[in-house]
């Protein structure tokens, strides 16, 4: 199953989460990869960790999103996945 949250518009991020049977994979593509690529990855990683997400694949298409947006979009996909009964 795959869920997504957010848009690809400026200052947002499109986050996709699929419950593949693998340890957590995080892929980030950012239009500010030089200046904030690390920050985006860090915010996403920390949020996934806080939510105890262990499995699955996460893609982030970032378009200048601030950290709070990354955190929120990650929360949204994880919550949707869990409410649908998937163990992630």
């Amino acid at each position: 199953m795959e869920v997504s949250a957010g848009f690809m518009t400026k200052q947002d991020a499109l986050v996709r989460f699929s419950d593949e049977n693998c340890t957590l994979q995080l892929e980030v593509r950012s239009s500010v990869s030089g200046l904030f690529g690390k920050a985006v990855r860090k915010a996403a990683g920390e949020e996934l960790s806080r939510l105890n997400v262990i499995n699955g694949r996460v893609w982030i298409e970032d378009n200048h999103a601030l950290d709070f947006v990354i955190r929120a979009r990650i929360q949204a996909v994880v919550m949707e996945m869990r409410e649908a009964g998937c163990k992630v």
Binding site: A5, G6, T9, K10, Q11, D12, A65, L66, D67, F68, V69, R71, A72, R73, Q75, A76, M79, E80
Partner: protein
Amino acid sequence: MRSWLYCPGNSPKMIINAGIYGADGLVFDLEDAVAPDRKREARILLAQAFKERIVPVEKSAVRINGPETEDWNKDLEEMIPAGALIIRIPKVEHPEQVHRICNLLDRIEADNGMDTGKVVLQCILETPLGVENAFVLGGSSSRISSLSFGAEDYCAAVGIPRGSDLLPLDYPRSRIASAAAAFGLSAYDTVWGFLDDETGLAADALRAKSLGFKGKSLIHPDQIELVNRVFSPTPDELADARNILEEAAFMDGGAGSLNGRMIDRPVILRAERILQSAEETGIRESTDAE
């Protein structure tokens, strides 16, 4: 609060900038501005914005989804712990809806170690039934701090056009302003959706002010300056209010007169309110908008 600027709850770009334009209050919208299949991500995004203080929480209201939807309770469960203190409820028609919401708020406040009654409610009356029930709704809970009028849905239901003919809206506006005043609540007026019609906006706002509304909701930052001005006391009104209170101080209780006008308790109260609202919005007497 003279102006309440609406901001879509699922738009990071707009959330980030909502507070810079000078509106007295903000309304972050989880209802009409958010598509049905995006309700979850919107409330989470908005909650995160509140948690991280991206928005000025003390003057930010959240318009949750209506009491007859499946989302309103989830909105509250997410937004109150995040720090939201002002909740705007759309399409309010029955006291029963208010009670349901209050019960949930009681529980959430208790669960989060908050004082009971900390969260206040703004009710939007936007249907004929809501307008008719303005009085019972105004008195339905001590949490309620204001009543708002929503003209779009009201006009559609009654079958009148929403536009520059303001007379047909005098009745619902008066009813709401009167009910609000009966319970010491503020009354806030409906949005004006015709962005290119500034004259229409001014007329609409002035009409609402003359009927007792304290402020108005807005859909675009361009509307803020005009609406703030309409709902601010003019320099003359301020000077007048000050004179009245000076005279009242001399009078030492009872009634008196100033320039041929009777100064009694209601007049004094009104003068006090004018000065108080001026202070709250930081208006100084001589300067302010041209």
